[in-house]
């Protein structure tokens, strides 16, 4: 996958451009060279490259402005920018104002450049896709992980928390955030301790984990059991003693809610009916409905063969 990365090279130095383009292409990268700065932003916004290498050796204000513009934009700041600096320049460089992701010093050591390109890609994926609250991988990584699992004897397991919204309303957002972080830890540890797998945070109270199918049920049981142990610390003594708490439902009426529980929908990935990512989420939604029928923590495994 990594070998067809699209790299934008920004420099007014033709000699450098020619040489670097050749080396990058020989490594299997696609290269787009820009020596006219004015046209770059438009191009990036319409067809963003995977990585940018920007020549800063000439201290060109136009190029510096470009880097700043790019990094100001939430969406495009995801693209890693590698600065080319001349010798000794790194010591005096204004890192604060020119938010680079990495740099390389001229004359360019190409093996180092290639390593830095790979590294910055990895880093950006780690940083930007992860959920800031739980630090778990987000939707891009989740989709990739599910695609990799398709056709194998694995299970994609969707977790969510029953009646999370009324809990949030009644105990406050920061308590709700604590619950989400706890679920993330409980799930990650259960998966890790069962022998490993993928865990991700879709958003809100929706999580996903992927393990070998024959281990899925055991992991579900561990998560349910551990969640039940932990929730006692998430309610006030009175609510705990009563076994339920009062909060407003979707229509704003006060109602009794049972203490928090989790529902897990387990979708095997080796079934012939599941050919693509979309089908997994569809099946998961059906199972979730089943799991939600009971107010208590439970898991539902799809064992239908066709």
């Amino acid at each position: 996958m990594g070998s067809r990365l699209r790299i934008a090279l920004v420099s007014k130095n033709h000699e450098l451009n020619t040489q670097m383009e050749l080396r990058l292409r020989s490594k299997g990268y696609q290269v787009i060279v820009f020596s006219k700065i004015s046209s770059i932003l438009g191009f990036i916004y319409s067809d963003p490259p995977d990585v940018m290498i920007v020549d800063l050796t000439a201290s060109d204000p136009e190029i510096q402005k470009l880097v700043k513009e790019l990094k100001k934009d939430n969406y495009f700041s995801v693209i890693p920018v590698l600065g080319l600096l001349s010798d000794n320049m790194d010591e005096l460089f204004d890192w604060q104002n020119y938010p680079l992701d990495d740099f390389i010093v001229c004359p360019v050591q190409y093996s180092e450049l290639f390593s830095r390109i790979s590294l910055s890609m990895q880093r950006i994926q780690r940083i930007f896709d992860n959920n800031p609250l739980t630090k778990l991988p987000g939707n891009t990584s989740i989709q990739h992980a599910i695609e990799r699992a398709l056709g194998k004897q694995m299970a994609v397991c969707y977790i969510d928390i029953n009646n999370f919204k009324p809990y949030n309303d009644s105990y406050g957002f920061s308590r709700g955030d604590e619950v989400l972080r706890m679920v993330a830890r409980i799930m990650s540890n259960a998966v890790k301790e069962s022998g490993g797998g993928f865990v991700g945070h879709i958003g809100g109270d929706d999580f996903v984990f992927i393990v070998m199918f024959d281990r899925a049920e055991a992991v579900c049981k561990t998560i349910l059991a551990n969640f039940n142990i932990i929730i006692s610390d998430l309610f006030g003594d009175e609510d705990k003693a009563r076994g339920h708490y009062i909060a407003k439902d979707r229509k704003g009426h006060e109602q009794e809610f049972p203490l928090l529980g989790v529902a897990i929908a387990v979708v095997p990935t080796d079934s012939p009916k599941i050919q693509h990512y979309g089908k997994i989420t569809e099946v998961a939604a059906e199972l979730k409905k089943l799991a939600k029928k009971s107010q208590e923590s439970c898991y539902v495994i799809d064992r239908r063969k066709i």
Binding site: L133, D177, E178, R181, M182, R185, I186, S188, N189, K192, E193, N226, I229, I230, S232, D233, D237, A241
Partner: protein, 287 residues
Amino acid sequence: MQDRRTEIIRIIKDTRSLPTLPGIITKLSSLAEDGKVSVDEMARVVTSDQVLSAKVLKLVNSPFYGFSGRISTVSKALILLGVNVVKSLAISSSIFEIMEKNTVGLWEHSLGAAVAANIIARKLNLPEREEISTAALLHDIGKVIFKIKLEQDYDHLLNVIKEKELPMIDCERELFNVDHAEIGEWLVKSWLLPEKLIEPIAYHHNVEKSNNQRAKTAVVHVADVLVKASGFGFSGDDFVSRIQPAAWEKLGLNELILKDIVSELENNLVEAKNFSMDIQSKSGQQA
């Protein structure tokens, strides 16, 4: 006098690491080698040691994980931190280089208090038994740190206690203008542990002062007294104080219940003694 207090506060606040008994570490390492170690097995070993339990609770309540002041038992900490994190925390712990009589005595006393607190909580049908025995396990953490950080002062303290035949807490106040309950309180507060654990540690010699966690504080106080009366371990003095009226009242104790508790405690302390011998022999091998 005030200066001495300030100095002690400064020295103790500067605590980075607390040593654990080598035998505990040996036991955990052999568990860890097993590969598939369960949360329960791990929790059993960790909860036998006040220092390791304190470390695990400190870590899980640290701001990084985002549930400060919430987690009050080792098994909950293990669920949230994961077996691997706790394993590496334990193995990287520093250990006591010399297994000295007082160190073992204090360790046994804490273990015994946890055993006693568990029995009391069960007999009286109190909620949160695990929290209560955790608080009992940690109740003298102030002494542990005092002994480690100010070893000469601690030795001097023990000598004065012997000479004057005074209770330890009185001697501490007289000599240093601060006592182990207060030191313990600073520590666990700075570690952001939950109130459920802070109050019993802070007020186990003064149950009346406990407001929100009086039942837990009362149990820890009674457990402390009973273990000292049993002669198991050595907490620093041999003085057995009376059970405070506030504790007696809060728990609704009577002679009959107390008798029942004491007889079960005696049986359980035999097991604790065996465990302690086992740990000491393992420590010997390592040293």
